[in-house]
Symmetry: C2
């Protein structure tokens, strides 16, 4: 198994890399799949691979055969313990998922995701796409982190893609869009906060709402918390807006304590 193959095209080396979204694999199980993902990434000029708690540890030489020469991507791959840490420095992140989720997110096709990512790509902004483990897919907690979800329209009776095939379609649409729109203007609104900064605010809000008795009854707390988080991730906050929201929370708390 895991032989490389060259039926289509030629793999000269690790050149041709262009700035593009990071690919985040959450708890990948098979080294073959990690290798195939590296190959599919480099086929499309991507090289920022991030691994969250891969089952068999990292580095893993078993990933190399299927990478078929995309060794640089494997060597550069970063290891993280949690998805949240893996996306902390990014500014816009999407989650690939096919299952229906009980949450309100913008959903994109792979082509739509390429446009969404391109619009948010700039020298001072970083984007990424999160893919879940083989078999189980992403847990809700990871999907909540994301600014949008990617859904691949496929045969509804047989829609499960192999992990590296899913990465390929997203990376391929990204690359094709670059071919079609090489000079596409990026949106230059005010700076976007890192996902770490956004999560910091959402955690703070969670904590304060919990202390205020808003997350009640306890069995509904996760749902209430999830819904609030989705409102703020969907809003694509700027740095300035995030600071304002911190101020709003502080002001409300202060007002409350004045009353009390």
């Amino acid at each position: 198994m895991a032989e490389s193959d060259e039926s289509i095209g030629e793999n000269k080396g690790a050149g041709g890399v262009q700035p593009g979204p990071a690919i985040i694999l959450v708890e990948p199980q098979l080294a073959d799949n990690i290798g195939s993902v590296a190959r599919a990434m480099l086929n499309n000029g991507l090289d920022d691979l991030r691994l969250v708690a891969p089952r068999d540890g990292w580095p893993n030489p078993d990933a190399e055969p299927m990478a078929s020469g995309a060794t640089l991507v494997l060597e550069k791959a970063q290891l993280f313990e949690t998805t949240r840490e893996a996306v902390a420095d990014l500014n816009f992140v999407m989650a690939a998922t096919a299952r229906e989720r009980d949450m309100s997110k913008r959903a994109y096709t792979p082509k739509g995701s390429a446009i969404a990512l391109k619009l948010r790509h700039a020298p001072d902004r970083k984007t990424g796409v999160i893919f879940g483990p083989e078999r189980s897919g992403l847990v809700n907690e990871d999907v909540i982190l994301a600014d949008g979800i990617i859904h691949v329209p496929l045969n509804p009776e047989f829609s499960s893609l192999n992990l590296s095939q899913a990465v390929l379609l997203v990376a391929y649409e990204w690359y094709q869009l670059g071919v079609e729109m090489p000079t596409m203007r990026t949106v230059t609104q005010s700076p976007a906060p890192s996902i770490e900064a956004r999560e910091y605010f959402l955690d703070r809000l969670d904590k304060e709402l919990d202390a205020a008795g808003f997350l009640f009854p306890p069995e509904l707390a996760p749902t209430i918390s999830k819904n609030i988080r989705n409102v703020f991730t969907r809003a694509e906050l700027s740095d300035q807006e995030l600071r304002t929201l911190h101020g709003v929370v502080t002001a409300l708390l202060k007002h409350q304590s004045d009353d009390g």
Copy 2:
């Protein structure tokens, strides 16, 4: 290895198949790849898989794990000894190849190929796409058979796709086009000849030209023959035109012998 995975979507069964191009794998080497191809086909509603002289014979139970439930595609797969036999009943066939070829063919991106195939798809017409063996790719003889070639625009420094990834991209673009243009009108010109009938004419022409001393000097004969074949495959002949061309050859031969 060769574990199935369900990270994206759900594979319920073998439903959701729609009429579409046949996928022809020439001398595939790895059972894993044949399985992955079956999965990628059914993901996109295709089920007509044709195998030309697979290295490890057919049927091959080792293909099943990577098919991840696309067993029906494997069970229906047809076995052939030559590429020519595998495409004999089709009316329009494309070849996936990344290497530059010294021949004059129309070239398409995967998206372009989907449009080209769709335009030629009709109840009385059958289409197909030929993919070469891992590592070596298609031989020129197989490419000459094709009405057009498919080239995937990828990182020029790292453009070699895994076999099943190449099939996925072509099948995916086919399926997406169906989503975008479900009622696209098919071209209804006069009936198209089968590739078998076209090859029969080209072989006859070859033979007559050789007998007439046209394929000379011998070392250039293959090139001359190839160039002539490419003219006629590119022309997308109708049944009527093919009959006319047979008549032309017959008339010229008769005239020649009258002279002689």
